[in-house]
């Protein structure tokens, strides 16, 4: 049998809320008992808006933030109990390539950092850097360039090459294309799909872009206020969303064709406005009886 590449079990993270004197007066549950499993070679999409906890989950997987409770198992090994050691197995690509690359380092120097950190023999580093650039379809002479000489798409390719330097099995992609033009985004996703096949990679794809997720991820989890409110195969969740928050998210996506418009769920308007998630959920629980719901949004 095959074990999942990533398994997250009842993962939680709370942050203390302090008053002006530094005394802890409460806590915020940024991530609340989240569980998910990604099989080897699959793309799992984690969808959510700001404050949903999606980046906190990514940070915990990468060991940048310790979890409050729960377990993270990468390729059969718990990284919470064993401390570090995930470096070679899991790597991350950040949202903004402009700020995740050191402006004073050439591309070659940036790519050498993870190689050195993981004890790649010095003699072989130049060859490996050339190989990495080729993987992300950049010319070999880019090793001498600085980030400011590159376009946004090229920078993100360098960030991907840097994440691949130590031959990880799992890539955590935190909004990897949200800063890019749509045609550049398409090329970067093309590249990720190809690399996934060639290198047998598993992806955790974190994004608020549901249209992109529909076409890139095989499974999705919808995160709302630290909890996964709905999860399953991408096609099923998108075509037949069960949770109101998922329905609201899908109804809010700007689309470019009549077919897409027809598949968006219909959401009741509250006082002539598209409701916020809080209001919609409250309405469904019968709490907002005074509001008038009249027309519908989405069709």
């Amino acid at each position: 049998m095959t074990r999942p590449m990533l398994e997250i079990v009842e993962l939680s993270k709370s942050f203390p809320v302090r008053n002006a004197f530094g005394r802890t007066v409460g806590e915020v549950k940024a991530v609340d008992r989240v569980s998910l499993k990604i099989e080897r070679g699959r793309v799992y999409g984690l969808a959510g808006e700001s404050g949903s906890g999606k980046s906190t989950i990514a940070r915990m997987i990468m060991g940048l933030t310790p979890p409050t409770a729960g377990d993270i198992v990468i390729d059969g090994e718990s990284v919470v109990r064993n401390g570090g050691g995930r470096g070679a197995k899991a790597q991350m690509v950040f949202q903004n390539p402009g700020s995740s690359l050191n402006p004073r380092r050439t591309v070659g120097q940036s790519l050498a950092v993870p190689l050195a950190a993981h004890g790649h023999p010095r003699r072989d580093r130049q060859r490996r850097i050339g190989e990495l650039l080729e993987m992300v379809q950049l010319p070999a002479d880019f090793a001498q360039r600085f980030p400011h000489e590159l376009s946004g798409g090229q920078k993100q390719r360098v960030a991907i090459a840097r994440a691949l330097a130590v031959a990880p099995k799992l890539l955590v992609l935190d909004e990897p294309t949200s800063a890019l033009d749509v045609s550049v985004q398409a090329k970067v996703i093309d590249l990720l799909v190809d690399l996934g096949h060639r290198l047998d990679l598993t992806f955790l794809f974190i994004s608020h872009d549901l249209s992109l997720m529909r076409n890139f991820a095989q499974e999705v989890g919808v995160l709302y206020r630290g909890r996964i409110v709905e999860a399953g195969g991408t096609a099923g969740v998108f075509e037949n969303p069960q949770h109101d928050y998922t329905r609201l998210l899908l109804a809010s996506v700007p689309v470019i064709s009549a077919e897409e418009e027809a598949m968006r769920p219909v959401i009741p308007l509250i006082d002539g406005e598209i409701p916020t998630a809080e209001k919609l959920l409250a309405l469904r629980q019968g709490a907002a009886a005074t509001e008038t719901t009249t027309e519908v949004h989405g069709s």
């Binding site: 808006e49 700001s50 033009d181 749509v182 045609s183 550049v184 985004q185 398409a186 090329k187 996703i189 093309d190 590249l191 990720l192 799909v193 190809d194 096949h197 608020h208 872009d209 549901l210 249209s211 992109l212 529909r214 076409n215 890139f216 991408t234 096609a235 998108f238 609201l248 998210l249 899908l250 109804a251 809010s252 996506v253 700007p254 689309v255 470019i256 064709s257 009549a258 077919e259 897409e260 598949m263 968006r264 006082d271 002539g272 406005e273 598209i274 916020t276 998630a277 949004h297």
Partner: protein, 281 residues
């Protein structure tokens, strides 16, 4: 013809830096009829922002030079009219909704103060006389129009006290203060979450249709175009590549560039193929 409220004719702009001239607009022409919603869509570097700045008179000259073309508003050429007249139009007859709600608002003044000041100078340019109290009444009225629940409270708030969606509403309210006929919106809502963006786009659409305003929407997002505008101009490398009614153009693009651009947009229905790069723009 010339029934258009705003008409850009054969506009060419070049930028001169370090003694080198680069043409960035090559004879751009577009029309925005009164009461209609028109989008100008393009990727970064396409020239859509330069076009918008030329229309609003916000191009810094130098480094920019308008090498040819005319921009008619209500039949009058904005580029040749006296400076004072153009100032009187800007922010009053035509006004702008900016993209980034945080950097477009001054953090140290309340929303009401900032809106009151805008109104004061608009009044002065138009030779109108209003008391402070009357101006504040107008500010509250406009805040209510953008569907703020408690306009008085919002008016007394500093920008940091408001959510991103509310700040974007304040920017829309600012643009509406002087009852313009033409709104120019630069990527409104792109910095916001998808549900908040949907609310803002819906609000904008309702406002322009209820008040019969003309809207020029500058954006890179084809979905936003379809949600808000019935007519679209597609820009690439300083040229208008193609234009037409939005639904028809998106369903059946004529030019290779537009076709490749539309193919790059992932579809909510699925079926967008990634991997093995095909023809990307």
């Amino acid at each position: 013809m010339s029934a258009a409220l705003l008409s850009v004719r054969d506009l060419s702009v070049e930028f001169t830096t370090y003694g080198q001239s680069n043409a960035v607009l090559h004879g751009v022409s577009l029309d925005i009829p009164a009461h209609s919603q028109v989008a100008l869509v393009g990727e970064s570097g396409s020239g859509k922002s330069v076009t918008m700045k030329a229309i609003m008179g916000l191009l810094r000259q130098p480094p920019a030079t308008i090498t040819s073309g005319r921009i008619f508003y209500d039949g009058r050429d904005l580029l040749t009219m006296p400076h004072r007249e153009r100032l009187a139009l800007r922010g009053t007859a035509m006004s702008m909704i900016f993209q980034d709600p945080m950097s477009s608002l001054n953090p140290v003044f309340t929303v009401g103060d900032q809106m009151g000041t805008i109104l004061k100078y608009a009044d002065r340019r138009l030779g109108r006389d209003r008391s402070r109290r009357e101006r504040m009444a107008r500010v509250h009225e406009v805040l209510a129009q953008v569907r703020m629940r408690e306009p008085e409270r919002v008016s007394g708030s500093y920008p940091i006290m408001l959510s991103g969606g509310m700040r974007q509403r304040v920017l829309i309210a600012m643009a509406l203060l002087s009852e313009p006929k033409l709104l120019i919106a630069d990527e409104p809502g792109t910095a916001l979450d998808v549900t908040t963006q949907a609310q803002i786009l819906r609000l904008l659409k309702d406002l322009v249709t209820e008040r019969g305003l003309a809207l020029l929407m500058i954006t890179h997002n084809l979905g936003v175009v379809r949600e808000t505008c019935g007519y679209v101009y597609v820009m690439n490398r300083g040229n208008i590549v193609e234009h037409g009614p939005t639904a028809g153009l998106f369903a059946d693009p004529r030019e290779d560039y537009t076709r490749a651009l539309i193919a790059a947009v992932p579809r909510l229905t699925g079926g967008t193929h990634f991997g093995q790069q095909e023809a990307r723009p």
